[in-house]
């Protein structure tokens, strides 16, 4: 009756859309602009030092371990949760791996054991959150406390050292000019990017984070999907702990604790780049970039470390505000 006339709405407007978003997109790139501004700033202030390939490698190396944790934190935050236990878990896995190594375990086996520990810990977090319906915050805060206690207990509070060189290579070695941790981090980030954007699992993660009820009614196994995100974060945290232990050539019961807040901060910085307000790996990379460049640049400028802290806070606020000021809606 009236269905015969099909209005060709959809195609016609696609062209106009891209026009639409040019200013909007620019605005939403505020955080990216912040990163660029920082790079320019430091380059101008300390060109001979900041803009060298060596320093560039340094920055990458410095954020490599944080990048590993942040990549998996991104997954948990895509699902709409936090994992506060990543830092403590990384420390714990570092201690366990180091102790196994000191006891003479084969490095490959020790690394595998470490990763398995992470997987199990992730399963505990995931079970608490998806099957017992605990809020991720309280669940992972509790496990964080327990993991830290375990790490202290196992190591008796002190540093475990005397690790074999073949293991230490994971943290200190190089593949050509590129530090091994950077290679590992890059590989993981690419993998997570692939899973998040190309696979059914990634789509399910995003759907659960966007509207868990709608996902459930679309036939998505919401509990399993959420559980899997914690498996990923547990394993990733373990990997970070292992690389960190190799980098420090020693296991320390609180070595990785600071990674938790930094990883969440980096993801939040990245979220400002996303139109839908959801985390993306691209955004996370920019967030990591800001954190790395900022800390390296301020060190290179030899700013007093207390002042550095003050400035870091201010600059993060500025970088994020850049993207928000121009995006205010009513």
């Amino acid at each position: 009756m009236m269905s015969s006339t099909a209005p060709a709405q959809a195609p016609s407007t696609e062209a106009t859309r891209s026009r639409a978003t040019i200013p909007a997109r620019l605005a939403s790139y505020g955080t990216l602009l912040g990163l660029v501004a920082l790079i320019i700033l430091f380059s101008v202030l300390r060109p001979q030092v900041f803009l060298t390939p060596l320093n560039f490698t340094n920055i990458l190396e410095q954020i490599a371990i944080l990048a590993i944790v942040t990549a998996v934190q991104t997954v948990v935050m895509v699902v709409g949760d936090f994992d506060l236990s990543v830092g403590a878990l990384a420390s714990l896995v570092g201690v366990i791996t180091a102790q196994l190594l000191v006891a003479g375990t084969d490095p490959a086996a020790a690394v595998a054991a470490g990763l398995l520990t992470g997987l199990l810990a992730g399963a505990v977090n995931g079970a608490l959150v998806s099957y017992l319906n605990l809020s991720a915050f309280i669940a992972t805060l509790a496990t964080m406390t327990s993991f830290t206690g375990l790490a202290l207990l196992l190591s008796n509070g002190s540093t475990v050292f005397g690790l074999p060189d073949s293991f230490v290579w994971l943290g200190q070695g190089r593949l050509g000019p590129v530090p091994v941790p950077v290679v590992i981090a890059l590989a993981l980030v690419l993998l997570i990017w692939f899973v998040l954007s190309k696979t059914v699992l990634g789509r399910a993660w995003y759907a659960v984070g966007g509207n868990a009820e709608a996902a459930r009614l679309s036939g998505v196994n919401v509990r399993l999907v959420r559980f899997s995100a914690f498996l990923v974060s547990g394993t990733g945290a373990a990997l970070a702990g292992i690389v960190l232990t190799a980098r420090l050539a020693s296991g320390h019961p609180t070595a990785a604790d600071a990674l938790m807040l930094s990883s969440i901060a980096a993801v939040f910085l990245g979220i400002t780049l996303s139109r839908a307000g959801q985390p993306t790996i691209g955004g996370t990379a920019v967030g990591l970039g800001i954190m790395g460049v900022l800390s390296n640049g301020l060190n290179i400028m030899q700013v007093n470390s207390y002042v550095q802290q003050v400035l870091t806070g201010l600059i993060i606020v500025l970088a994020v505000s850049l993207s928000r000021l121009s995006r205010r809606r009513r």
Binding site: A10, T16, R17, A24, A215, G219, A276, Q278, R330
Partner: protein, 517 residues
């Protein structure tokens, strides 16, 4: 239905100054102009209906009148003076109050607090006087014929109760201009009638009412003036007495209207689909509300389900689909007991539920049209766990065209679509599953007449292909028009089962109230 309203209002008293008017009002979202140059007048003591197909710009216009969004061009005049309404509070300070299309209550607060939220109440600027709050809330809800427990968080109440709270909230503000955007979309006729009675009283008291609805019968029973929008432009404004539903539909879609409900073929439906017949059987199904319902739906049959709000209709569908765990009873598909299977398993078996609430249950609002359509079909559009964007895109484009989804592109986030178009995305998402048993819970809520007709045809076509369809609807004409048979629920039990061909609105209504069985 009702005798035509007595149009003694301002419209017939000659040209009095409008309380609210727009002058060349336009709204752009980026480069897309969704409303252009609309000039309208709203008078005291007059119900003014806004009509137009999905995405015509009705809600956009209303949002500007209420101060929710700012116009891109043009102005809004209150009592003849141009005003800039910067916020909902600004609007309210001028006596303009709107009930938004997507009602938004605070789910964690009770009815009374929701009703008086944001309202300065005399004598309680600082402290909350709970007793007075409850008393006044009860009184307002009673005007609407409702008794809603005040201590239950709004999020736990039924859709109807939530709508009624939202309406009470609008009434509580003593508006000079009351704007209602599809207030009856979620209401059954009883609640709708209650609302109309209140609106008529308000009109007599001199309130200007702006009214948006896709249910044209009620519009013409209620309104004094009707305005039609098409593609963001003003087509015409006429006294309701001097026009008709057909006129309005013609103007809304830009061509003469056809017939809304499809012609039903008599005789048995043709059952030729692959997958074979899949009769659905429900035995003594029980849930929170549902108290033991047994039904059989052969392939190719459309079963309409009627009942009052809270009678258990949605729950019946949720239990069949596996979205909710039953307290007892069994669900059989093609003779096989599938009660143990969860929602995903039943979906794979061919049972598909189109849920009632598009925003909370149907859509991921920040995701695009394409992603939402793909969500229910992830397994089918992928290989080895890797999603195929091109297949998703092709399917989304096909569905967007056949359901006339009005979006700038299939990559537009659904939160930017009009309400009706969002509903179409929900339909598209689930229709793409090619179901053997299709469960539709209020499928045409918020959908314009033109598209409604297409959806009815689609339902009939699916039935002809052997799909068993269950349709829950609060609009009895819709049930009569599309179903083969109508089952009516009353307080969780089957009150009657009547063939649609012989049923009338009256007879179905009687079953709803259980006056006869």
């Amino acid at each position: 239905m009702n005798s035509p309203a007595q149009r003694t209002g301002a419209a017939s008293e000659g040209r009095r100054a409008p309380v609210l008017a727009t002058r060349a009002l336009s709204k752009d979202y980026g480069p897309v102009r969704v409303l252009s140059g609309v000039s309208l007048e709203f008078h005291a003591g007059e119900i003014h209906a806004l009509l137009g197909e999905n995405g015509a710009g009705k809600s956009t216009l209303i949002k500007m009148l209420a101060g929710v969004t700012a116009p891109s061009e043009g102005e809004i005049l209150v009592d003849g003076a141009a005003r800039r309404l910067r916020s909902v509070r600004d609007g309210q300070s001028h006596g303009i109050v709107a009930l938004p299309q997507e009602l938004s209550l605070v789910p964690t607060l009770g009815a009374a607090e929701n009703i008086f939220l944001g309202l300065r109440r005399p004598g309680s600027r600082l402290l909350v006087d709970r007793r007075a709050l409850d008393r006044d809330a009860t009184a307002l809800l009673e005007r609407l014929g409702q008794r809603i427990p005040l201590d239950v968080p709004a999020g736990e109440l039924s859709a109807v109760q939530q709508t009624m709270i939202a309406l009470a909230r609008a009434l509580a503000r003593d508006a000079r201009v009351l704007i209602l955007d599809e207030p009856t979309a979620a209401l059954t006729e009883r609640e709708a009638e209650q609302l109309f009675a209140v609106l008529r009283t308000l009109r007599e008291a001199g309130t200007a009412i702006v009214y948006v609805s896709h249910r044209l019968e009620e519009v013409f029973a209620l309104a004094d003036t009707a305005t039609v929008l098409l593609g963001g432009r003003h087509v015409w404004t006429r006294p309701a007495a001097q026009t008709s539903a057909d006129d309005a539909v013609a103007a809304m879609i830009g061509r003469p209207p056809g017939q809304i409900y499809p012609q039903r073929e008599t005789g048995e439906p043709a059952l030729q689909r692959a997958g074979g017949p899949a009769a659905l059987e429900v035995r003594d199904l029980r849930g929170h509300t549902l108290a033991g319902v047994s039904l059989q739906v052969p392939p190719g049959r459309v079963l309409g389900i009627g009942g009052l709000a809270g009678s258990g209709r949605s729950e019946l569908l949720a239990l069949i689909a596996g979205a909710q765990r039953p307290r007892g009873g069994a669900v059989l598909l093609g003779g096989q007991d599938i009660t143990a299977r969860r929602l995903a398993g039943r979906m794979r078996a061919g049972i598909v539920l189109v849920p009632e609430e598009r925003r909370s249950q149907g859509l991921v609002m920040t995701h695009s049209v394409q992603d939402n359509i793909a969500l229910a079909n992830l397994g089918r559009f992928s290989r080895l766990g890797i999603a195929s964007r091109s297949r998703e895109r092709a399917a989304a484009l096909r569905r967007a065209e056949s359901l006339r989804i009005r979006a700038t592109s299939i990559r537009q986030p659904v939160e930017e679509l009009s309400g009706g178009n969002q509903q179409k995305v929900v339909l598209a998402k689930y229709l793409e599953r090619s179901p053997r048993v299709l469960l539709l819970d209020e499928p045409t809520r918020g959908i314009d007449v033109g598209t409604k007709a297409e959806i009815y045809q689609l339902v009939r076509r699916l039935a002809a292909e052997g799909v068993a369809v269950l349709v829950v609807s609060s609009e009895i004409p819709e049930l009569l028009g599309v179903a083969d048979e109508i089952a009516v629920l009353h307080e969780g039990r089957l009150a009657g089962l009547v063939p649609a061909a012989t049923a009338t609105e009256e007879s179905v209504l009687h079953l709803c109230y259980r006056k006869s069985a």
